[in-house]
Structures are given as structure tokens and as C-alpha cells.
């Protein structure tokens, strides 16, 4: 459940927490686009280091690391899947002429699998920083001020707010099933996946039940009664926000330039030389 911990807002007084959520989201989106643009390991290693100053300035290092640790299982899965598909369908690699029989060819497949895994890690790392430093209230406000209908903003912020609640509930359900002799780590891969059914069903049923209760509670408090809602707080861009916009745009321009005109060598090619 530690991956959810890495997406739970931490109230800390820091320059990163005080940034406008819209700008932080733009910055994260730029990182997202950059991670999708490149599929070379070297480029993705560089991208991995970009959110690090944010993490240290926001003083959320521990929670951020926890999100990475929590994503480790999926990362291993992505690595294994990419390696297996790369091995059986080598046609997607220009550098490889089937059958795969040299060490270099194996290394090329390994590097691609590592790059795809790192792409996932970069995405988790950047979105984790965003959610760790942005309160659900600010997020809702940002969406509203971006002229998104209030119904959608509310649904989104509620979903975000309920992530830690669901994480806690999942832990309780796991405890309850372990207390009935369930061993999650027992058996082969298929058995292990099946072991999660007794966790997922109560979790989903409870989530649906809770959402219905929440809907009734909201309706009882006149939700949606007035067409034009007012807000106590409004978001205003500050100097630091403009600076982050500038940095993000420069990063994006640089990334597009590199993607179009610069050939990034593969690590295997570098080592072969």
C-alpha cells in the first residue's frame, strides 16, 4: 500500500507547496510528455533526476521514496513483460536481426526493457511529487478556475481525497483475510494474483457502498442547489509560478529539439565502442 502513501498530500510549509497547482500540473505534464517522447535509457535517466530538486525542496523525500518502493512490483512486471516481448518479437528492434544469438542483441533488449521501466518510474516519481505537495482543496480550486464544470471538479477531488481512505481500508481487509489464513505471497504467479480476489471484492463493494452514502449525504446538504457557486479563496499566480512556467517551457522546447535533431546513443552502443 506504500505506493498510495506516495500520493497522499503532506502538509508542509515549503516553496513547492505554495506554488500554484495549475503551474505544478503543467510542469508535471511537461515531464510526462518528455517521458513519452524518449525511449532511450540515457534520456530517461536524465529525466529521472529532474523532479529530485522538487522532492528535496518540498521535504517529502521519505514519502516520495515510499511511492517508488510501492511501485517496484509493477516496475518488475513491466521490465519482465518488455523483455519477454522483445525476445519473442525482435522485429520491433532495428538493430537486431533474428534469431537473437549475440550478447549485444540480448543487451539491446535488456536496455529497452530497462528504459520502459524507467519511463514508468519517471511518471510515478513526477506525479507523486505533484500529489504530495498539492492539497485536494487546491486541486479542486485549480480545476474550477480552469473553467471545468464544478461537478467534474468535485468528482475528481473526491476521488483524490479518497485514495488514502481506500489504502487504509485495503490494509484492514488484508489483515482480516490474513487472520483467516490467507497467505498473499504463497503459490505461483497465477495463484498469487488470485490471492488478491478476497482483497479486491470487499474493497470494491465498500467503495461503491461509500460512494452511494456520500451521494445521499451531499444531496441532503443541497448539493447543486445553486447554479453559481462562490469560493472563499481564489488562486493568483506569483513570481515563483511564472519562473516555473518559464523553466517548464524551456525544458519542453529543449526536449523537442533533442528529440528532433539530436541522436541519443544507446548504452549498449556506447559500451560496444
Amino acid at each position: 500500500m506504500s505506493v498510495f502513501e506516495g500520493f497522499k498530500f503532506r502538509k508542509v510549509s515549503s516553496a513547492i507547496h505554495n506554488l500554484d497547482p495549475r503551474i505544478k500540473f503543467f510542469y508535471v505534464c511537461v515531464l510526462f510528455v518528455m517521458a513519452i517522447l524518449f525511449n532511450k535509457l540515457l534520456a530517461l535517466v536524465v529525466l529521472f533526476f529532474i523532479p529530485l530538486p522538487f522532492v528535496f525542496m518540498a521535504r517529502v523525500k521519505r514519502q516520495w521514496l515510499r511511492s517508488l518502493r510501492g511501485a517496484a512490483f509493477l516496475a518488475v512486471f513491466i521490465f519482465a513483460t518488455n523483455f519477454i516481448f522483445g525476445y519473442f518479437y525482435p522485429a520491433s528492434f532495428q538493430e537486431i536481426t533474428p534469431p537473437i544469438d549475440t550478447l549485444v542483441e540480448y543487451l539491446i533488449i535488456l536496455e529497452r526493457a530497462a528504459a520502459m521501466t524507467l519511463r514508468f518510474v519517471v511518471l510515478i516519481a513526477s506525479f507523486s511529487v505533484f500529489f504530495l505537495t498539492t492539497s485536494p482543496d487546491h486541486l479542486g480550486l485549480a480545476l474550477q478556475q480552469s473553467h471545468i464544470p464544478y461537478e467534474f471538479c468535485f468528482a475528481f477531488t473526491t476521488a483524490v481525497r479518497f485514495v488514502p481512505v481506500l489504502a487504509d481500508e485495503a490494509q484492514t481487509i488484508m489483515d482480516a483475510q490474513k487472520a483467516r489464513g490467507l497467505e498473499l505471497e504463497r503459490g505461483n504467479f497465477i495463484k498469487r494474483v488470485r490471492n488478491y480476489i478476497p482483497i479486491l471484492i470487499p474493497l470494491i463493494v465498500n467503495a461503491i457502498r461509500r460512494s452511494l452514502e456520500l451521494a445521499e449525504a451531499m444531496e441532503s446538504r443541497a448539493w447543486g442547489a445553486s447554479e453559481k457557486r462562490t469560493n472563499l479563496y481564489t488562486l493568483k499566480l506569483k513570481r515563483a509560478d511564472y519562473l516555473l512556467v518559464l523553466v517548464s517551457v524551456l525544458m519542453l522546447v529543449l526536449a523537442v529539439y533533442v528529440w528532433l535533431y539530436v541522436h541519443i546513443p544507446s548504452l549498449t552502443a556506447l559500451l560496444s565502442i
Binding site: T172, A176, K178, A179, R180, G181, E183, P198, P202, V205
Partner: protein, 273 residues
Amino acid sequence: MIEVKDLHFTYPTGIEALRGINLTIDDGEFLAVMGQNGAGKTTLVKHFNGLLKPTKGETLVNGVSTRDVSVAKLARNVGFVFQNPDHQLFSETVEDEIVFALKNFGFEEAVIEKQVDWALNLLDITQYRKTSPFMLSGGERKRVALASILAWDPQVIILDEPTIGQDHQQKEKLQQFILQLNAQKKTVIVVTHDVEFVAECNPRVILMSQGKILAEGIAKEILTNQKLVAQASIVPPQITQIFLELADLGLPTDVIDVHEATKILLDRLRERQ
């Protein structure tokens, strides 16, 4: 026998939930763990089946440290009924729900069939054998959860807040049932806020506050000590409160049982006549 020696537990979030608990629970004992929210009651009992492992100190179940044994192994002897049955129900039928734990513990088919019949009968839910547990009422779901634990006949039974969400009749039945279990030499541990329930069952009581044991003794001794109950943010049973308010009339202040109270009052009335 359960022995707890200088038990400390700190959650990963840094919250110190238990601070040096020392406790011995003999076989066949009936124990109530009481205290305000956040006192550490559930955290303490989760150590008894190994769901939580001590940060410092140790918990021994039948002489074996819970650190050295898996939850599945401990659960064979220590059954844990969680507060909310919805945290464990996931099967299509009540029967499957009860079978789940028995299969996890590796019982043979013939034994499973016998134990399922026994548990359904014990909790008076035989008529719901083929019904989905999700279609049952709250009280019935609680009974299914209880049956799914009792089915493997553990020596120790832990019940976390068993009376929550139960109507008076269900509570009475549950009380009788728990006393019956204890009469069969089962060790019963109940985590509860319900002073009336404790007063009627009269078990040995452990009063907790801020991760420490504030006091332990028989229910009558603990629940009539105004200073102690105030410290643990609970209120004495209603009958005790009446007798405390009438103390000036010479009535005893250590009454927790309604039958005892009736007898005292009748004696006084007869004396006056």
C-alpha cells in the same frame, strides 16, 4: 497462554501506539480491553495473531514469539473477528465464506463439510447457506463473519467491537454466545467501548490510555472507579451512575449489575416497610 513483555509498537507514520505493555492472558480466560479511541486497544490485540510485530519487546503465544511465526500459523490458534464484517466478506454464498478459511488451513473435504454445518448451526444462519452474504442485514453479516472464524475452532477468539451496530436483541444473543464460548474453556478477548456489555459479562478488564495499561482487574473494580474511568474517557454503566448519585442515601457505589442493584433496592424498600 498469551504473554506480552514490554511491548512497544510504533506505526510507520511515527505514531507510537503502544508504550511498554506487560500482560499475561491465561488459557480459558475472558478478557475485555477497554479505553478511549486511539488508546491502542486494537493495536495490542493485533499482536496476538501476528498481524503486527513488536517494535520493541515481545508477544508470546503458547511460548512462541509472534516474530518467528507467520500470521497464517498463529491464526490457526488465534481467531480474530474484525469490527466491520464488510472488510472480509467476498464470497458468492455464506457457505463459501465459511469454507474459505478452512481451505486456507488445509482441512480435508469431509472435515470442511462437518465444520461448515456446525458453524452455520452455531450462529443460527443455516437458512442463509446458499445466500449471498451481501444480501444479508448488518447483524446477519456480523454472524457470518463470526461463523467464518469459529468454523476452524480456534483456542483463542478475539472480537473487535462486537456490539457495534447490533440491536438490543442481537447484543443479548451475542453476550450469551460469548459467555458460552468461555464456558467451553475458550480464551475470549473482547475489545470494546461498551460498558453495559462489560458490566453484564463481568470479565477481567484491562483499561488502556495513550498506549499504556492504566489499570487491570475485575469489571466491578474498574468500572466503579470514577477516577480511572474518567482518565480513560469512558463513563460507568448507567446503573453504577444511578447508585453513585444516590450514594448520600447510603447506597453502595460499586454496583454494576442490574440484578444486584434490584436486590439492594428491594431490600431497602422492605426495610422501610
